[in-house]
């Protein structure tokens, strides 16, 4: 990775608390443009809080955060496709209505691409969300986000609830998708083994701060695999 590359995200000594609980503490990191970065760490490490702030949902208490060259705010939603953590979709929608909702309310939604993704994820237009399995619903939400033609994708636990075989297929589709588009992608996941091949970079977080960050290739060369790094740090 070129160290002088433009940065899509810059965080400098960020802190964020909810009441008395400190969720992010003096966190600094960078995410280069057009990279696919994993955000890894145990539950409660502050990954979702960080991703929410990047998506413009909640300002940091202290520190500076820049996303695509500006302070993230509600307007950030125009240029950031964000898959929230523990998200569900509107139960009364069909796949078609979900696509219509996204197309009407979010910018850069590519309908043709969405239908291609639905097809490859095994989703049909008339399927109703309330009748879907957790995995099908997760695939729907992921497809909706991936169909947006925006410079930054922020995916918080996109594989949660999806079975292993489907996960592998989706990772394959993601590799093709990211190679085709020049997007910056930030993914938080606990499924490190199946998704490892996706990442150019990894950021390891614990107790609200970054404990290690670097290029995935270098980390693998030094320590075997990202999963092993994870075990060494948090095991």
């Amino acid at each position: 990775m070129n160290v002088t590359a433009n940065m899509a995200i810059r965080a400098d000594r960020l802190s964020k608390s909810y009441g008395k609980k400190l969720a992010i503490e003096c966190l600094s990191m960078t995410v280069p443009e057009h990279s696919i970065t994993a955000v890894l760490g145990p539950n409660g490490a502050g990954k979702s809080t960080l991703m929410r702030m990047i998506a413009g949902q909640g300002a940091p208490g202290e520190g500076i955060l820049t996303v695509l060259g500006r302070t993230p705010d509600r307007e950030a939603g125009r240029r950031v496709a964000y898959l929230p953590d523990r998200a569900r979709w509107y139960p009364h929608h069909t796949v078609e209505q979900a696509a219509e909702w996204f197309g009407k309310l979010q910018e850069g939604f590519d309908r043709e691409r969405a239908w291609g993704l639905f097809d490859s994820f095994g989703l049909e237009a008339e399927m109703k969300v309330s009748g879907m399995s957790r995995g099908q619903e997760a695939r729907l939400m992921l497809a909706l986000c991936l169909a947006r033609d925006v410079p930054l994708l922020v995916l918080d636990e996109p594989f949660s609830g999806i079975d292993m075989i489907s996960r592998e297929k989706i990772v394959g589709a993601l590799i093709d998708s990211f190679a085709e588009r020049m997007q910056t992608v930030l993914i938080s996941t606990h499924e490190i083994a199946e998704t490892e091949s996706l990442f150019d970079r990894a950021i390891f977080m614990d107790r609200g701060t970054v404990v290690l960050e670097g290029e995935a290739e270098r980390l693998r060369a030094e320590r075997g695999s990202l999963q092993q790094v994870y075990r060494q740090l948090f095991g």
Binding site: Y18, R74, L105
Partner: protein, 247 residues
Amino acid sequence: MPQGTFFFLVKHELSSRGSKLRLGKWLWIYGGLLLLLAAVAVAIWGNNADYDPSYFMFTAYVFPFMIFGFAVEALKREWAEGTIGWWLSLPHSRVQLLGAKAIAAWIRFTSYVLLYFAVVLLLDVYSVAMYGDRVTSVKGMLVLEAQLFGILVGISPVMLAIGLLFVAVRRSGLKPLLPLLWLLMGIGGNVFGWMTGGGQLTVYGSDENLGPLVYPIWIWLWLIPIWAIAALLFAATIKVCDKHLER
């Protein structure tokens, strides 16, 4: 916001689970049975001097609390269904997002009120056909309903705003303010009762020469400060959603 997006948001709200009565044909069956029961009851006991169809308008005192409930339900649903992250990530102003919820809740409220008033009017027509001048005339009922509807619609923005603010505060770091909002809801919900003078409705039904009841003009003037309060509460809801939400 592209043209039509706001209406799309309103439509989305109206089609949400909980916004629709999903009983289908059973709704008509139960509704028909209730009407039949009311018709039989009026035929048997309607000649009693204590009966007048205008008494059914006392139910109108519940409506301000109903719209508060609809507003609470409209915003709370985003958390209950796990869709809050999507809703908050929409690149549209909070005025538009919350406004769409408020408008949808208001449409729902107005539909229920109109339906109820239509049923009471129908009952009045039936009662007049059976007992003539002894009960409130159809014209009198129409005048009463029109005024009550106007007052209900007039105070509805404040109850809507209290409902939305209530949920936003509950999901924020400002939770200690909740008891104050309960108090505000109680006061706001009773404003309708104070404005319409409560007991006036009973006098209306027991008068020998039942003429249309006309509320004094000051009632309508009261709506101006009520709307100003509603606007302030709505602005406060936007502020809480922008700055203080804790997901």
